[in-house]
């Protein structure tokens, strides 16, 4: 019973850890470069969740000074993650652009095949 309670209370963190490990696993285990980038994105997303989870307060509003509202969510982590999302998108875009160039140069996006091709030279 207690284990279920701990799980429920830390549900977001459990998801964070799962996404983090899943993302990292894909990056390491997959040879396909597109899949690697997807794994990388999942890995980054897990960190977004880690930042946002403690910042969101149930029933909290945006921090607007008004006598009607007493409970606010912390806006700073949201803003930080907005920045991190932009960085993540830029990284993903650059990674995909590189994969396009690699595909042009090697004719494949699979790492093992690419290593095999360079070995022939």
């Amino acid at each position: 019973m207690q284990a279920i309670q701990v799980f429920a209370e830390h549900y977001n963190y459990v998801v964070t850890i799962f996404l983090m490990m899943a993302g990292l696993y894909i990056v390491i285990a997959r040879g396909n470069m597109i899949k690697k980038l997807i794994g990388l994105s999942i890995f980054q997303t897990s960190v977004y969740l880690l930042y946002i989870t403690p910042a969101k307060i149930i029933g909290g509003t945006a921090p607007i000074l008004d006598p009607a509202f007493k409970v606010y969510s912390n806006p700073l982590p949201h803003v930080l993650i907005l920045t991190a999302i932009v960085v993540g998108v830029a990284t993903l875009a650059l990674g995909l652009a590189l994969v396009v160039r690699i595909k042009e140069a090697y004719g494949t996006v699979d790492e093992d095949e690419i290593f095999a091709k360079d070995g022939e030279q």
Binding site: V47, T91, G95
Partner: protein, 497 residues
Amino acid sequence: MTAISAQLPALQVVLPLLGAVLAALMRRGTPAFALTLAISWTLPFISGALLYQTLTGDPISYRLGGWEPPFGIEYRVDVLNAFVLMLVSSVGAVILPFAHRSVASEIDEDKHAWFYCMYLLCLAGLLGIAITGDAFNAFVFLEISSLATYVLIALGRDRRALLSAFQYLIVGTIGATLYVLGVGLIYLVTGTLNMHDLSTRLVEAYAVYPQPVLAGLAFIVVGVGLKLALFPMHVWLPNAYAYAPSVVSAFLAATATKVAVYLLIRFSFGVFGKAVAFPTLTVTDLIVGLSIAAMFVGAAAAVYQTDLKRMLAYSSVSQIGYITLGVGLANQAGLTGGIVHLANHAIMKAALFLALGAAVYRIGTCKLNDLSGIGRRMPLTMTAFAIAGFGLIGTPGTAGFISKWYLALGSLEVGGWPLLLAIVASSMIAVVYVGRVVEVMWFREESPHVKGASEAPLAMLLPILVLAAATVYFGFDTRATAGIATRAAEMLIGGLR
């Protein structure tokens, strides 16, 4: 004049950032080069002024946008990061005259302006990491410089450059993400991102939540360790340096890893120092162990390389080991040695990579056998190569000796003779890989590639000679390097609990 001097910390980053945009808009290589040259030669004067201010007075605190720290982003310049700023901006400036011809010969013409754009962007990112006093802001700059770096590496001629850039992108992004993760954990327990504020608030937070704080430190050390290529997280580095354009190899070897080391020093001593007594943690033993492994594995791998750029890259892995050894020793002499080797290694490695770049410019290859006898054809360039190579070994009379001297002193204090022996033994391996190259370059029959080669053009030769001269100069006059490094180490050690 005072109006400008008050804004110097912001200008240090804003100038290259705006310059990058302008360079991209110019579309043509030569005007973009002229602009980059103007900007990169202005930057050392700015960082020089900042260094002078911090050496003679208190740390500079600059409020970005007028927001008061710790609420707004603060640029905080003390002796340590003024030194790093000076190093990065000087190397960026000295290398650039070399770039024009080298880039013209190695990169397609329609991409020249983009090269200079990325160069400035990378410079802006690196200077930003060094100058900022905000942990999250450092992440943003880390990614700015990293993204620019991936592009710079991918500009290399060989198609394997693309592959190296992709692999570095994966590893670099994982490193940066782990860093944010660590910063997130310490933000959760302290509620602040300002490094100076963190250092005091972590004391309280550590008493209540020791595990998240230590986990944060661990994530940051591993994340930054990936960026600085600490053994065994160095696998991306040899390929990236080997296939990048010559100027990029020199620039990255001299600056990118150094700034990452700065970040490691800043966090382990500056941010966590007050709270967790960094020198007593297991992580310092771990860093010392990995550093020694890096010193040997890097140097041993360098001995077996036939591609000289790759050899220098493995040598970088080994030399980074010396720097992090200084961090791991965490005493006055060791840390001084680490910080001073930051600068000395940057100077020597830039000279070596540029000398190879000049050889590639003249004969189109940097395979060891193709370079045999090149010393007689390009005597000045290869003399500079030999001098910087001796610096890597740590020969007395070169800058490398100074760093190893301090490291040896620091090692004796902590680990006694075995550690000292490790430093000497790994230097002996450096004798092998440097000596082998010098022998082939000077004492062998000329290879068919080398026949007809002549000395490098003046614009390429001058940066190489300046860097080689600096290698010797800083071997004798250590006021500018070891003097400042000692003060920085005193400040860091003094800030520890």
